[in-house]
């Protein structure tokens, strides 16, 4: 699978969904997507030092009229659980969580992280969709953004190696 097709489709889907403000922390598997996000003049991109602050920054940007997403690894999602609970969920803030799914089926490494990701999302009451096929990128990201805005809650899309063009 080509390394750029998935990430460029994800970026286009984000923009089509109306996302115009993005915070992020890198992962090897997110490198291409973040490169595209950083270069895109239509998106304000705030690189983070830790994921929890990104939830606060997205919350503030939403209150200022932006449609926001955070791009991070699932380890970073775990870092941001308190902010998701006491800020995003507490204040009814929609944020699209684009989470790289480390420890996914077929992976070597991070299996402990992979095993807790979906249960923790579920425990927080955050709806979660696993993205495995290129042809589902557009509808899933658009749908997740609509759901986040309508429910006024964060919604998670788990980005697998398959859609990030990193499955070997």
């Amino acid at each position: 699978m080509a390394g750029e097709t998935g990430p460029s489709m994800i970026l286009e889907a984000m923009k089509e969904a109306g996302i115009n403000f993005v915070t992020s922390l890198p992962d090897h598997n997110l490198a291409k997507l973040l490169e595209f996000v950083d270069k895109d003049p239509d998106l304000k991109h705030v690189p983070l030092c830790r994921e929890e602050e990104g939830i606060g920054i997205c919350a503030g940007a939403y209150m200022g009229g932006k449609t926001t997403a955070i791009i991070m690894q699932n380890g970073g999602f775990l870092n941001s659980c308190n902010a998701l609970t006491t800020t995003a969920l507490n204040f009814n803030i929609p944020i699209v969580l684009l989470i790289y799914y480390a420890g996914d089926i077929g992976d070597e490494g991070f299996s402990t992280l992979g095993s807790v990701t979906e249960p923790v999302l579920q425990g927080l009451g955050i709806r979660c969709y696993v993205l495995r096929k290129l042809e589902e990128i557009r509808a899933t990201i658009k749908g997740a953004t609509t759901l986040a805005i309508d429910s006024r809650r964060p919604v998670a899309v788990l980005l697998t190696k398959d859609v990030l063009g990193m499955r070997r």
Binding site: F21, K44, V46, P47, L48, C49, R50, E52, E53, G54, I55, G56, I57, C58, A59, G60, A61, Y62, M63, G64, G65, K66, T68, N82, A83, T86, T87, N90, F91, N92, P94, I149, D150, R152
Partner: protein, 205 residues
């Protein structure tokens, strides 16, 4: 130096600035001094700076004030380099350092013993970070930053303790919940900025 005196010095001057305060004494005092829809209190320790940064970036023409405490800032030191990268000209970040977890049992924070928050901020890339020496000094820094529209990072070492806490606890209680204050602020932003924030409820029919 007392936090209440610093806040009192700036409250009449901030106009329609949006103000994010950490929960506890700061929020109680600020809400008493400058009531209204332009205030939001956060109880997520560390996120005051982040919420204010997001708002400042989304609304570059609007003045933002962040009122934080030492215990809260210590929980999000990672946010300082992020703030340093952005330094929005419409954001004034203030940290009142009383050396204790004032709202959580009065135990010492690391600033009471070892850490210097302004030195940490400088090390993170915020060369503007400064300690003020009096409420008058505090007020003039805030005013200068507002007038010149430049980013500011202001620290004030303030007194606290059981008597001080008893004093702000005698102020009136909040009359709206945190959630309601968030919605009020969003509606206030809609009204004053001419934008839509809270989505229209669906479905259309």
């Amino acid at each position: 130096m007392r936090r209440f005196d610093c806040l009192k010095a700036i409250a009449p001057l901030v106009g329609d600035a949006l103000v994010i305060t950490i929960g506890g004494g700061s929020a109680t005092e600020w809400t008493h001094l400058r009531p209204g829809e332009g205030n939001l209190r956060s109880r997520t320790l560390g996120l005051v700076q982040s919420i204010a940064l997001g708002l400042a970036l989304a609304l570059p023409k609007r003045q933002l004030l962040a009122i934080d405490g030492d215990g809260a800032l210590l929980m999000n030191l990672c946010g300082l380099p992020t703030l340093a990268r952005e330094k929005p000209s419409n954001l004034i970040y203030m940290v009142f350092d009383n050396g204790i977890y004032e709202a959580s049992g009065l135990r010492k924070t690391a600033t009471a013993e070892v850490a210097d928050l302004i030195a940490v901020a400088k090390g993170a890339g915020i060369g503007e970070a400064v300690w003020v020496s009096s409420p008058e000094d505090f007020k003039s820094r805030v005013l200068e930053s507002m007038r010149q529209r430049k980013f500011a990072f202001i620290g004030a070492r303030v007194e606290s303790g059981p008597e001080y806490v008893a004093e702000f606890r005698s102020l009136p209680r909040f009359d709206v919940s945190e959630v309601e204050s968030a919605y009020r602020m969003m509606r206030y932003i809609e009204k004053t900025e001419g934008i839509r924030v809270v989505p229209l409820p669906g479905p259309r029919h």
